[in-house]
Subunit: 334 residues, 2 copies
DNA sequence: TTGTATGCGTTATCAT
DNA sequence: ATGATAACGCATACAA
């Protein structure tokens, strides 16, 4: 690997001059600059970022903490990596698996001190919440700049997806389409349910319409969550005056509701409009294809990366919260 | 941030001794060792990776190269991380996106020289294949121990999933269940199709039965692949003597075939048995639930991690190829 | 406009 | 068993 020294020797100028030529921002004679740049190219010079990092104090790796390998998270992850790579930061990953994660993280940190961290974790239970919060506190104590994605710890830098707004918009859309009675079906205590419910409630308030809400009992695992969709359908169909449009908590629920409709001869979207949430791959292929809400995960990843870069560079203490909007994908179920 | 120097000053010993105590592998008096370790803990010492990398060319991190964020890959990834973490190796990730990946990788390597690498990439086209191969060659040239997962570059350390065997077993199973005419439906030129087809052919040869194969035209994207399933069904149903069991290339194809059956009153598994491939989440919830083939990705990840650890430690030049079997999950579609 | 010299935190050689 | 010191490649204060 060619170094500045090599270029200096080849061109006969000093290291310092090579440095200036490469940086381009200092006073330097055009001729020497050209000479150096050519030599650099010829020698296939690549700066040694480790040395650079060492000199300028900062580390060069960012550690991403993740406890859920959903594709969605990984798309955020990829978008973030792209941003970080441009800033010569390297992304390393720490997967949270069990209750020992705090100790594990400490041990991980004893191996190397990252320049920054991103916390990208879901929680379904109080224990999980506490665990994740514990991880954040570690970063906080160690003064490692940290950005949380879709978390809500006080005093933490955040990038937050505004699911509330997304649901609000979806309800508004349904209303504009002429649907009269719009319902929400969620799962009690599930991660993100309250937020979506809030969006629904705000929208209904804004439309001066009466709420119609079903919350399935807490469900763990895909199977239970599919079941929740059917439970919701049963609930609404038994109502005297059932809804003609339902916003579901997740695509899973919506898909199983769609199945229910098929089995019970309910025509979608004529008798009932259905909207899911997440734009899972399946949704494009259901009968009819499901309208759903896309979380712009790439954007979230990008913004998180940028925020973190800024925090690392500026080492300022102001706490940011960045909101990102989600969008409605209209297919044939509405 | 505390450095070796700080510890040295605090304890009154030299930097070199601190270094020895921390490494633990050199002759050193127990008392001084203890003293140093305590001081290190007290000062919350974390080694500076940049300095380490600068001096010794790195050696504590493994870089995983990945070009496809399928959940499956990520489960391998997680399993691997677990193994590596136990060996105090950090896992960092490098996501391949475009044709510049080789340059990018070189730049990445200038940041720090990893102790090892794992190449976990899919390819659908010759260009992609060449690109990935280029990445491998970089590792190879730089003498960085590298393990490939499901690749087939000559001279490369490999962990390979035996999909051929899996299909072979599935066909044998169908035969034992009494199905008379077993077919295979795949996609021309798709990644892994040939391998599965080979398993089918071998099984049919072994059973002395006549092959019945449909290969859909090359399809890119989920939608096209779903369509392939229907194409296959149309093909087989138009046959004079159609199959009573079909092994599909992917779950996607199988699921859409299942839909086709529903729409055309073909009873599964009475009239037709269907087996997918991959055990995607949906498969458990189709009507009827789909039998499919699980790739034991965790095992693959684990073995890859172990293999890499061995390569790093022993730095031997022997080339390994480890085969891992896939298993059949029997649900109600067979 | 260009060069000299120093130090970042580690590792490792060579002394003691 | 321990210490002094050089070196890794880069950035930069200071000198010329």
């Amino acid at each position: 690997m060619a170094s500045l020294k090599d270029i200096a020797e080849k061109t006969g100028v000093s290291i310092r001059t090579v440095n200036r030529a490469l940086k381009g921002d200092e006073k330097i004679k055009e001729a020497t600059k050209k000479l150096v740049l050519e030599a650099a190219k010829e020698l296939n010079y690549i700066p040694n970022l480790a040395a650079r990092a060492l000199k300028s104090g900062g580390g060069y790796e960012v550690i991403a903490v993740i406890n859920n390998l959903h594709e969605m998270h990984l798309r955020k992850f990829a978008a973030m990596e792209k941003v970080l790579r441009q800033k010569d930061l390297l992304l390393s990953i720490f997967i949270v698996e069990d209750e020992n994660c705090c100790e594990d993280l400490l041990k991980r940190l004893s191996l190397s001190r990252p320049a920054g961290a991103v916390l990208m974790a879901d929680y379904d239970s109080q224990e999980q919440y506490d665990l994740i919060k514990g991880l954040w506190e570690i970063f906080d104590q160690q003064s490692i700049p940290c950005v949380g994605i879709d978390l809500d710890f006080e005093g933490m830098n955040q990038v937050v997806l505004d699911r509330s707004q997304a649901i609000y918009d979806a309800v508004q859309y349904l209303n504009k389409q002429g649907y009269q009675k719009i319902a929400y079906a969620g799962i009690e205590g599930a991660f993100g349910n309250d937020e979506r419910l809030l969006g629904y409630r705000n929208a209904m308030k804004n439309l001066s319409q009466e709420e119609s809400i079903f919350l399935a009992p807490p469900a763990v695992g895909d199977e239970a969550r599919v079941e929740s969709g059917k439970l919701a359908m049963k609930f609404f169909m038994d109502l005297e005056e059932g809804p003609d449009a339902i916003q579901f908590f997740t695509d899973m629920m919506a898909v199983s509701a769609l199945q229910f409709c098929q089995e019970n001869d309910i025509k979608v979207p004529e008798d009932l409009a259905i909207i899911g949430f997440d734009n899972q791959p399946i949704t494009a292929f259901t009968q009819p294809p499901l309208s759903t809400i896309v979380q712009p995960v790439e954007k979230v990843g990008e913004i998180s990366g940028q925020l973190l870069c800024n925090l690392i560079k500026s080492s300022e203490s102001r706490v940011y919260t960045k909101m990102v909007n989600a969008d409605l994908v209209v297919r044939q179920s509405t």
